[in-house]
Symmetry: C3
Subunit: 340 residues, 3 copies
């Protein structure tokens, strides 16, 4: 793709030599003459004169370095992402079912789908058109994998799970294991039934070694466009809205509800049936207590989670404890003196 063609894709004009051929993208310092780069920070602006990149994506108001091919856009980072999706199409394994895969007779594999080596597909599974299930992955009976999904190697999907179109599951993630529910009976924990399912929407991405448990009664739900990082735990009967983002190692107990566009930082922990309002942002390692409702549209931090500013004030007040003690000692001295 030439820089001029890229500019056309981005619906803007190119400046400089539009015939520059672009074959990839890189950081400013690592870029070569066929690489696209983006400049969206002061540090990057300072550095951009020295880059060997073939073309630079700049903010509309930025000054261009002399002699470079430049494309101006509102959001260089976004434009870069779009350009890379166009420049670097995914490497797809060959369509068809690998000879070493074990696919049940009652399973249906869609047109153009790719079932990798050692994959196991159980009874009545439906794999959508163009979906990819990579080596060693397992899809349990009656599960549905949507069109264009990508399931990387060594993923486990239990029975009765529905996955929407174009959803990506990274290696090692486990969808539909039993929720963690027991009743204590004569001093022993007996299993509470975990007979619900998991329904995952379209365009979801779930990171490596993350777990989404099946519902106890009723389903665990993850709606369209949500993105979940590695090693995240989503307990039984959670209801995750659209375009929710969870960073690595978040943990959601059973029945947690997150409304649309919630962002949860790494290692955040949510107690049973906590409810996080739309567009709330939970800071890293913060903890929301069971049954709590957290109002949407605000940032929170700490355990128990508090509005971010309030929590920062609290931390600042704790830092004042030495002053408080000193002041107390002075007041005590004054009082003692006054008494004499």
């Amino acid at each position: 793709m030439t820089a001029a063609e890229l500019a056309q894709l981005l619906e803007v004009q190119v400046e400089g030599d539009g015939s520059v051929v672009l074959s990839g993208g890189a950081t400013l310092d690592a870029a070569g003459p066929e690489d696209l780069v983006f400049v969206d920070s002061r540090a990057a602006i300072a550095e951009m004169g020295a880059t060997a990149a073939g073309c630079l994506l700049l903010r509309t108001d930025a000054q261009a370095p002399a002699g470079k091919t430049v494309i101006r856009v509102k959001e260089p980072r976004n434009a870069f992402a779009k350009a890379m999706r166009a420049l670097l199409p995914d490497v797809r394994p060959a369509a068809g079912i690998h000879a070493t895969a074990t696919v049940a007779e009652s399973a249906v594999v869609g047109e153009g789908a790719s079932i990798g080596p050692q994959v196991v597909i159980e009874e009545r599974v439906r794999i959508g058109a163009g979906a990819i299930v990579e080596a060693g992955s397992y899809v349990g009976r009656d599960s549905i994998v949507g069109d264009g999904c990508r399931i990387y190697a060594n993923v486990t999907v239990y029975a009765g799970v529905e996955i929407g179109a174009r959803t990506i599951l990274h290696s090692g993630c486990v969808i539909g294991a039993d929720g963690f529910g027991f009743v204590l009976e004569n001093g022993r924990y007996e299993k509470f039934p975990q007979i619900g399912g998991v329904k995952i929407g379209a365009d979801v991405e779930i990171g490596a070694n993350s777990c989404v448990d099946r519902g106890a009664l009723g389903d665990t739900l993850i709606d369209d466009g949500s993105k979940i990082d590695n090693l995240v735990h989503v307990g039984h009967n959670c209801r995750i809205g659209k375009h929710v983002v969870m960073a690595a190692q978040c943990g959601l107990s059973g029945g947690v509800r997150m409304d649309d566009y919630v962002v949860a930082g790494g290692q955040a922990g949510l107690g049973e049936k906590a409810h996080i309002g739309a567009q709330a942002v939970l800071g890293g390692q913060c903890g929301v207590l069971p049954n709590k409702t957290v109002e949407g549209g605000k940032a929170y931090w700490g355990t128990p989670a508090r509005p971010h500013r309030e929590y920062l004030k609290k931390l600042a007040l704790i830092d004042k404890l030495p002053e408080i003690l000193a002041e107390l000692a002075q007041l005590r001295a004054l009082a003692t003196e006054a008494e004499r």
Copy 2:
């Protein structure tokens, strides 16, 4: 099963039409005419009149809604769990060794056991009668899987691990990987031997992607009836008692001891050789320092972990810091005035 038969199983009487046929269970709002439901909260009592469920499990003292088939029990939730175990027998894969499994000649597979596709069973392994090892799982040499165990897909059991009867391992869990022990020798970390084993008792359940490391010298032990959620780390040489419960993402460093009936909340962290007394309850995200002993029978929270009430008081005191500062300012003003 009819409602009358279920009542008989629960050793109580049915009220209303005992001939109602039950084929499953559900929540009050989702239930249909062949579903059993349980009612054990005020919210549920308020809702139960509108359910389409075929039969309701109520507390002995609850008022029954008109025209419904009802079974009264002490603990509706427990009775529901028992009923579901009777109504919904586990779906078992066919007995026998799948053609694509790789089973060592010296391994012994018990009667009625099911070894799934792509499973690998190494030398001298013993798989108990009726045990299930699902697709893609691996059992290392000399390990023992007890009668009636269920190992879901893509589990890894290293060499020399013993697993008791009816224990359940969910997908992605790893039992018997090397403990994390090194010695620093000339500026490099060299492996400290990890030559112990793992012994897991009967009726244990271990969640998806959880890890139980083998002992360094001597074994890591998990006793009968303990239940471990997803993404939990149990370090080398931990000794977990009977009927211990660990919620998701708990982490236990090496040599931690948990006595019977301990309950650990999600993301709780325990330092090396911490010892948690019987029936202690550790709150979510709490941290127990290395070598600490936590007395049994109480609840704890925070890092470092403190008795729950004490910790709540501490949090309340921190919330008083603005008042403390205001009071200090007033006292200072009074003192200054007095001095004049």
Copy 3:
């Protein structure tokens, strides 16, 4: 090996019967007559008289129990580790490619390497001499596995990953999954390209179910000799130095840098682009905020992470809040009295 031969290996003298044959190692209480033990604590010294061990490793200045074969060394624990490496050579699976493995034609498998059952090796992969890839593991196209590496069962290595010599990957770990990077475009998260690789040095060990993401642009780096425990998350573009130690469930956001010999405790969390100086020690569960630099050579604890002593002082000051309130009440009483 005899005790005399072991002493020779350790370059010291044996005391007592050097002809004792040693075949393993154990703890003091579990040891039998062919076992080596080490004694490096007061508790161990008190206990050592009763051990049935065939030979004891003692500190140079320790008193030897009567009638025992003894080897004196500076660091008994280190010497024990060295002895075990000599006494207990790793059990290696047979060299060669298992009949059920799927190895691409363009892949190169080195001399003496062992490719286990159900393993999948993609196009152009290079597996080093003597490397072991165990059952069910997957190595993506163009990846390189160094000489003498050990990849346990059910590991996933994505495409374009380089792993140095003698590195160990435990079961379930996932190397090279996409980093967690998105741009928000018209209310939807679109993937930011994750087109870098992962480069892991020599003599690294990565624990069960840990994840190391590939770089967005440019690589994620883990340098020689670093040791990573179970369930750790290393985000895209992290740069981990040599001989770094990370305990279980640590989480590193994107772009974190850890210099040589950093030690991170269990469940520690590091925000984006945090930079931890050489030999810093991060306490368990501590949290380093995004973009923060933590000076090397010191210990830290808490969230936000503070120098360890400072943090302990802060905790002690919080514990003084009841005293502070009492003192305030007294001063108020005095002031009120004075006013009268």
